[in-house]
Symmetry: C2
Subunit: 329 residues, 2 copies
């Protein structure tokens, strides 16, 4: 089960009911945050998530409404006991931006590892996690750190992260986060291969054991879960390809169609344009987000989008859903 | 009349009902913001203030809970039409911190002037304003800037700002903001001096005219208004001196007395310590602020403080008061 929460649905300037861009995905107790606009800390608290479980922070681009909450959130993660390394990934130039912002977030009790995708995107390398599965940073603090990564596997490695290019006024990336789903354990297959029962558990968890491989006890891979996040951008066919058949697409809806000219000028999308992407990409559902402060009534955006793609939600701060693997439904 | 609003009453980590450190003073349509923790933008909107009227931002120190909202607020000021220069003042090192944070706030449509006090504090030089009363920065924007400084006097110059040293884990300044009150206009004095009636208005507004000086038509200066802001610090006699007879003291109350040891270690104050300062300094009233996230019930702090200094309010986000000159009451 994958929990997804839209933490900030506002673009540009926050409104009392709309924090700035941020979403959180949680799986097996590990969390990824995408974007970290001002207010993300508050939104995270309101939604009941735990700072110390955040292992990856993905940044779409360096406009303040997508990253200004970063130093505060890192400090709060430290205050709440995070000791394992944190990966911050984003477009080229990320390391310098993070370093500059962290002038007010010194002495973090965990290691920050930055990773810059190319402008064309790519996959977040799994080696980043193994490289950083060293001992957590030791801190002398009165508080006992309550986070200790599981010994056999860090759940954050279960996320596959792919970045793809967006089309904004500055280099910007969209993200597709996938949770692959291994085949079902097949005891008959295991017995036929003569595998001792005591090795079954390890093989079932995806590890090699006693000269056998997981494939020796598992059926064919099952459909996993995919969530895509697209903001800020003009629409493009390449985006539809990148988010193809995602279970959930979270996509910007800066304006309704009456402001198409503004969307064009500022290189944002209207609700209808987001819906066309959702339809063309055959996604499961669409959450609209990143509304301009001028959008007071998001139901106008919703109505426009539903004309094109019915399974749309006008996302708001705190919109939450638990996605289940198809074979769990 | 001076409006004072506590915009963020939280310390360290924000809570859903408590944004991080910030207060706003408004006089004659010009505003000063003191501290700019995460959430200041939202708090400002909630309280109904105007971004574009902020002429001075004072920073107490560079811990994130006091400054992390700065880049976002500067951008919002620009978005809402600020064109006149903005003075950001704080402890030594300010310019570098502001420059680093502004990596995500490029292209502001107004000039940012940083001023570093010494560690011992001092007065904010009035020349800063006259130096910056040049033409507002010209911007090519579809929006018409709605702020134009009055021609004869910029109201922000009516604020006198004094910084004084606090005693925290890092260089930190307290602030005393004063609105001086000129003497009352005395028509008999003007007549006796033979001043033509057409000059009275200008002299009354504090400007020289026709070889006469304002003192030629004004009675003795009247008591003005003083607001002091103290966070983060251990208590000290020098603080009581610096805030002496302020009409309002806004002072940190990180803990109640059951956590005096933590206050000592982290170099913060308890509510009782804030109240002793208020009592010794003979201030008009005291607002407690900057509560630790561990303080769920601020009435405990209030009760402790009231034992020592009765005219205390447990400040909360949005606590608001309009102070009037004594001769207006």
């Amino acid at each position: 089960m994958l929990d997804v929460c839209l933490m900030g649905s506002g673009g540009s300037i926050p409104k009392p009911e709309r924090h700035l861009s941020s979403a959180l995905l949680r799986y097996c107790g590990a969390s990824i945050v995408i974007d970290c606009g001002e207010g993300t800390q508050i939104a995270l608290k309101k939604a009941g998530f735990t700072f110390s479980r955040i292992g990856i922070i993905l940044i779409t681009h360096f406009h303040a409404d997508h990253i200004s909450g970063l130093p505060g959130m890192l400090l709060s993660m430290g205050n709440e006991g995070r000791v394992g390394p944190v990966i911050i990934a984003g477009p080229p130039g990320l390391a310098r931006v993070v370093e500059s912002l962290c002038i007010i977030a010194r002495g973090l009790p965990f290691e920050v590892v930055t990773y810059e995708f190319s402008q064309d995107g790519g996959s977040l390398p799994k080696e980043l996690f193994s490289d950083n599965k060293r001992e957590p940073k030791k801190v002398e603090d009165e508080k006992e750190p309550f986070y200790s990564p599981p010994s056999h596997i860090d759940p954050i490695t279960l996320f596959d992260v792919k970045a793809f290019p967006l089309f904004h006024t500055t280099p910007c990336l969209g993200y597709r986060i996938s949770i692959p789903r291994a085949g079902k354990f097949d005891p008959n297959k295991a017995k036929a291969a003569g595998i001792p029962v005591e090795l079954w558990g390890k093989l079932q968890r995806g590890e090699a054991a006693g000269g056998f491989l997981p494939d020796d006890v598992l059926g064919p891979p099952r459909k996993g879960l995919d969530v895509s996040f697209v903001t800020d951008s003009r629409p493009s066919e390449s985006i539809s390809s990148a988010v193809f058949r995602s279970d959930l697409l979270i996509c910007e809806s800066m304006f309704a169609s009456d402001k198409t000219a503004r969307a064009l000028k500022s290189r944002h999308m209207t609700a209808a344009e987001a819906a066309y992407i959702a339809r063309d990409a055959e996604v499961g559902r669409l959450w609209l987000t990143h509304y301009s402060p001028s959008v007071n009534d998001t139901s106008v955006c919703l109505a426009e989008a539903c004309e094109i793609f019915q399974n749309t939600t006008a996302g708001r701060d705190g919109t939450y859903e638990t996605l289940r693997f198809p074979d769990q439904n």
